[in-house]
């Protein structure tokens, strides 16, 4: 009988943990680069390791492509622009 409350407690903790895992933003490959929402729901900006957000949400050169977090940004007027 005494094991039931413990079992319920562990189950709750496990459930909370799984929920937290599902809700956490998944970091992309790129050493701390992650996506942030864009006005276009199909696209995203990138926040780079220096804390700045890309001005663009699609590649500067191949306009139809999204941004690749593994390609470092270049800077225009100190603001990062990303590439595919």
């Amino acid at each position: 009988m005494s094991s039931s409350p413990r079992l319920i407690g562990w189950s709750l903790l496990l459930g909370l943990g799984l929920t937290a895992c599902q809700m956490s933003p998944a970091p992309l490959q790129g050493d701390g680069v992650f996506t942030v929402p864009s006005a276009d729901p199909e696209r995203h900006h990138l926040r780079f390791v220096d804390g700045q957000v890309s001005r663009n949400d699609t590649c500067m050169v191949r306009l139809e492509n999204g941004l690749n977090p593994r390609v470092p940004p270049l800077y225009v007027n100190g603001e990062p622009v990303g590439f595919c």
Binding site: D31, D50, R55, N56, C59, M60, V61, R62, L63, N68, R70, V71, P72, L74, Y75, V76, N77, G78, E79, V81, F83, C84
Partner: protein, 138 residues
């Protein structure tokens, strides 16, 4: 050719095609003119200005105004100082500052290897070995 390499070779043209506008680097209350006359490249960074006077003020004292630059050899971001080694590339007219004498020397030895970022999905300079990857006692 990687997209960043295409970009740095004609930044105003790419920005115009993309439709991305910037404020003047020296006076953010004014829009920058996005053409080659009002753009200055230093290392892989580009600066856009509202007029020739703003551009000239920047160009007369680049180290004071440029902020962080990317060393073309190590690909690390750094802030140049008045005594940082630099080189005006005759082939492109681009001014390059270096974070160290060794970078400066390497660039002069093989400028064609460093004029363009050459960024791909796994840039070698950014995946250098870390302390963890060095065997203990090595």
């Amino acid at each position: 050719m990687p997209c960043p390499d295409v970009f740095v070779q004609d930044v105003p043209a790419v920005l115009n095609r993309k439709g991305l506008a910037f404020a003047c680097y020296m006076d953010p209350s004014r829009p920058a003119l996005c053409d080659s006359e009002h753009a200055v490249r230093v290392n892989y960074e580009t600066y856009l200005f509202a007029d020739g006077a703003a551009r000239d003020r920047f160009s007369d004292d680049v180290v004071t105004y440029c902020g962080l630059l990317t060393d073309p050899v190590t690909k690390q971001r750094f802030r140049p100082a008045a005594d940082s080694p630099y080189h005006e590339d005759e082939a492109t007219g681009v001014l390059y500052y270096f974070e160290s004498v060794s970078s400066f020397t390497m660039f002069l030895r093989m400028p064609e290897d460093y004029r363009l970022p050459g960024y791909t999905m796994d840039p070698p300079a950014l995946s250098a070995p870390t302390d963890e990857s060095v065997p203990a006692g090595a």
